[in-house]
Symmetry: C7
Subunit: 252 residues, 7 copies
């Protein structure tokens, strides 16, 4: 009987815990890792693809990174089907704001709306929590570049660098050691590649196993550009980073 | 008590698994196999019929392959009644799009809509997941020929070749070995016949046990043709393929 | 605990089975048998009445065969009360189609609508599956004479000859041996009588224990006639068939 | 665990039975018996009153027989409160038909409507079946005098003579032996008295323990008369029948 | 497991019983007794008050007897809060009838409406039966003085004398022995006092422990008067009856 | 199993008890005591505050006594949050009446409305009873000063003196001994102080532990005044009463 | 079985307790502490941040303190996601009041509305209580500076000083010893710092671990100012307080 506290989102255990939320987090721990780093002049998101097969359509199938609006992109860890529902919701909320106020929705406001939806699934009967964590990278006029992390409970936080998914704990401790506030986007990318390299099984990172996205200002067009990199672009980043990283790791 | 995590879609197990979704996948493993292969100039879907009886109406009763729109066809593995509901839904969604925008719905958008519906059945109380996997073959102006695979969880992926149902694992490993990107539709058909031949019990493939569908451009009419083959046409493909396959298997 | 998978339609068992649907099929196995045979020039449905009493109103009480529309008739095996609900639904759907498009609904479309309703009762909470199987005999302009069989799961198939209910397995094996495609309606009737005679307890078939329906073209009126035979007519068929059957069974 | 199949209407047992419906029938077996007999020129319903007390208001309190419309009367066995709900429903349905089409609703159509309602209570969650069986005696232009029997499952049948409630099995076997089709209403009444006399505890039938209703044509007024007999009238029937019955039983 | 049939109104036990209804009746057996007697020229209701305290407001607090309309009064046994809900309902129903047809609602019709409501609480999920029995005393133009008894199942009956609550069985047996049809209201009151006196613990009946109501024709005003007696009036009745009763009990 | 009757408001136990209602009463027994006494010229309510801390805002925080309308005040024992909901409801109901009829709602009518709401929470599924008892003190034109007591079951009674909460039983027995009908408000206050003094742990009553409210006629303004006393006023009452009480307790 | 009382908000335990509410309080005991102190000329709220990481965005992420309106701020202890929902609700309620009446909503009224919502989650099925306690600091024209504390049960109280969360008991006892009513805001801040210093693990309070908010009158602008301090401002307060506190702790 003592174990029945874990079968519904609508029960607190005697210690005040919501087991279903913790089990949903467990589902996320089996997912590939994703990380995000805020730099002075942009943000980088990087994620590990778990399903890799040469039969997968490379060009089209983003598995971990999704556009939410013109100034926002997110990384996903957990059940992809659950993530789709929430991303749809986020996009719709963002578009409604854009349509009403004629400007992009502030990032935190959007993140909060999605989190409020998530919270509901931890409190009402006949539902299970969404089995998915997010890293939202975004930019708005008020707070500039921002990185939010949210989880199945509906909590969220504003971070300078964070990670979600399988190896997130070890990446987070690497971040605490090595993150510096005044890096630029290029250094942030290098750092992302380095962190992934240390935690993934094989050291050789390839465009088949990694997804990348960046937000930065396109100086020419004078506006934010938020792009998910194609395999070829990922390869460029990887080779560039790895050649740079070599001396770094020697220094280490 | 520890086994009660498997009785509702609204509970995560302590390991973060949704047992009902996994059990639905088990239902699909008892179904006949279906496979799809993308070629340069078209896509082929092939499926094994499990219920065969000379009393079945041959001409009319497609058991595994269904038209969704003018440019899309899908193969089904699992509970046929569940599949009917989803195919109806897909057709309705596609028609609404066509009516609104006066062009065929992009394939991925359609697949995603169906998958979002499926996801809901894994999260809300008083429901069971749909016990059916799909292979969608389609063509649209943006991405050309595409093959999507989806399952009861509501996940989907974009593949160059994949299979669902009973013997899908062995067919998938054959695919990984033998699939080449630059094949044409005829070679893809031959490959499909070969793969089915290796996994079905008796090597002699007949029009009673196999269903075939292709999407390709009809050069004369200058538009896509998406057709489910009639028994006679299947026989032609089979005899052609088997005569071709003979030397191939010798070479192997 | 391991047996609790069978108590709700909304749970898959670990083997991917829906026990409630299988139990509903069990209910049907206690019902009287019904069979249908497609001939070149018509279809015959025949069914065994289980409740027989000389106190029953003979003329009026069809127990197993029901008109659905002008071109369609169905045989029922299972819970009569459940069947009534579905037949009402089928009639209403058919009439709505007729009213909208001014022609009889194509048979398969009608069958499918009823089956979609049935499927819902296997997927949503707080419901049990309909405990009834159907044989639909119909005719439409597109596919001519058709025979559909459906069961509690919501599956259906297009058959040339099939049977449902208590002794359906043995009748089906008889059908596989003796059915020929080019028979005419008269021969189909004889075959139906023969099959029932072999499976029912007492060999003496009477109008109290058998119900008969046929669909055929009335050449004079130039339109389809779909009729459920009255006891007197059944007797005529029986005596005619049995006198014919005698030599046949000698030949056998 | 194996006994839990009997606790909900929404579960089939592994043998395909609905235990709750069977238990509802059990409730009916504790009720007083009621019977109906169709004659050439009318129908008679007779019922045994279980609650008898000289403190009961004799004139007004029909316990077992109820008018439904001008041409229809029914006998009830089971939970009276449940019966009231269904009789209200039947009356309302009948009145709506009368108002719409300006003629009495055909008997079977009315019976069927009530049975469809009953069926719903055997299939949906959170409900129990109606614990009541009915004998409907009616007359319409199409089929003349008719007697329908229905039970908690929602099944119904068209009978020439039948009975429901406590001793119905023994009365039914008496009926099978003695019922003849060409009797007139007077003989049917006598038969009813005789059957009740044989099954009730004490042979002396009184107006306190029996209720009677008849439908017949009032030749003078030229229309159907459907009446529930008052105690005095019942006594007349009883004395008349018993004096007639004496010689009959001697002949037997 | 075998005892779980008693936990829901929506389950029949294997013997066809509804335990929750029987348990509700048990609640009523703990309540004070109430009785009603129909006389030639009126009806009397009398009830035993269980909660007696000199701190209770004597004048205002009717605990067992309530007006329903101008011609109707009822006695209650069971949960008072449940009774309030039903009395409100009865009053509203009666007023709506009065407003629509401009005459008092016939008694049985009103009783039936309340009973239909009660029945629903024995058949639908998530509810418990009303834990209250009623004695309705009323008068209408059609049937004159009437006394109805109803219980938690929704059954009701038309009686000349009956009682509900704690000692109702013994009072009912007294009634069967002593009730005569041609008594007048005064004799009925005396009878009521006598019956209560025999069943209550202490023989000394007081206006603190008894409530009284009568319906009779006020000959002067020429209309029905339906009044609940005040303590002083009760005392008058009691003293009058007890002085009369002395000789009666001697004769007994 | 036998103890499961106590887990839902929708089940009667075999003895006809509603355990959840009894458990709610248990919650009230842990609350501070409250009492009310009707005098010739007013009513007094007094209550014991359980949460006492010098950090509490003294002036503003009534914990046990609440205004309902201009002529009504109530004392609460039990869950404060539950009480708030019911007090809100009572206020709204009272205001609607005032607005509709332009006079204060009669006390009993208002009390009854709140009790009907309470009753619903003891009969419908998915709810728990309100864990709170009330003492309503009010005045209206019809019945003058009135004191009602209600509890979680939805029962209520009209009392001259009563108490609710923790020590209510001992206070009630004191009341039965000492209450006299013809006291004036001042004597009633003294009596209230005396009763509280005898039951509370420490004899020294302070304005921190006691709340007081009175309803009486303000002779100058010629209308009812219904006031909850401020700490200073309570102190005045206490000192006045205690100096008076001294001789009384000596006489005792 | 005896432990099942703790699994639903809709059950009282036999002792009249709502275990789910108590478990929710347990969740709050794991949260960081928050405290509030009312001074003559303002209120101070202070809270301990549990999640501290140099990777967190310092400027933007208030974790424990939130604005509700122009004159109100609150501190939170418990599940942040639950708190967000309630804060949204409070803000919306406050804005609606402002819009309707053109003045700030009185503090207690707003607090009460939020508490009523909370109460509902402790009484209705299929929900769990909100796992969050609040300290509301506010100012309105009627009662000036006010501090309310509320918890998952929906109870609230008006305090001069109080605390919620992990170490609240020890802080409360410190408050009882040291709080004086006539302090000014500066002294209240010092007191807050002192209390937090005594209960937190390491004595060295930093702007990373503490959040501060004050409400006071801006004499220049002549209106209330309600501000959440930025890290730099917190540091100023801390250094100021600690230098002041030194002598204080020596005096102690």
């Amino acid at each position: 009987m003592s174990r029945s506290y874990d079968s519904r989102t609508t029960i607190f255990s005697p210690e005040g815990r919501l087991y279903q939320v913790e089990y949903a987090l467990e589902a996320i721990n089996h997912a590939g890792v994703a990380l995000g780093i805020v730099a002075k002049d942009g943000i980088v998101l990087a994620a590990e693809k778990k399903v890799t097969s040469k039969l997968l359509e490379q060009e089209e199938s983003a598995e971990k990174l999704y556009h939410i609006g013109d100034n926002m992109v997110c990384a996903v860890a957990g059940l992809t089907a659950d993530a789709n529902i929430l991303i749809n919701y986020a996009r719709r909320v963002g578009q409604q704001y854009l349509q009403t106020f004629n400007e992009e929705m502030p990032c935190e406001q959007l993140v909060r709306r999605v989190c409020d939806l998530k919270q509901g699934y931890t409190q009402y009967g006949g539902l299970r929590p969404f089995g998915v964590s997010f890293l939202y990278a975004g930019w708005d006029h008020i707070h500039g570049y921002q990185l939010f992390q949210s989880n199945p409970s509906g909590n969220y936080g504003n971070w300078q660098a964070n990670s979600i998914g399988g190896n997130s704990t070890s990446i987070q401790s690497l971040m605490r050691q090595e993150y510096k506030e005044d890096i630029n986007l290029e250094e942030a990318c290098a750092m992302a590649v380095k962190f992934l390299g240390k935690t993934l099984d094989n050291n050789s990172l390839t465009d088949e196993k990694i997804e990348f996205a960046t937000i930065s200002k396109d100086e020419e067009k004078g506006r934010m550009v938020c792009k998910i990199l194609r395999p070829k672009e990922i390869n460029e980043v990887l080779t560039k980073c790895q050649s740079d990283a070599q001396p770094q790791s020697e220094r280490a």
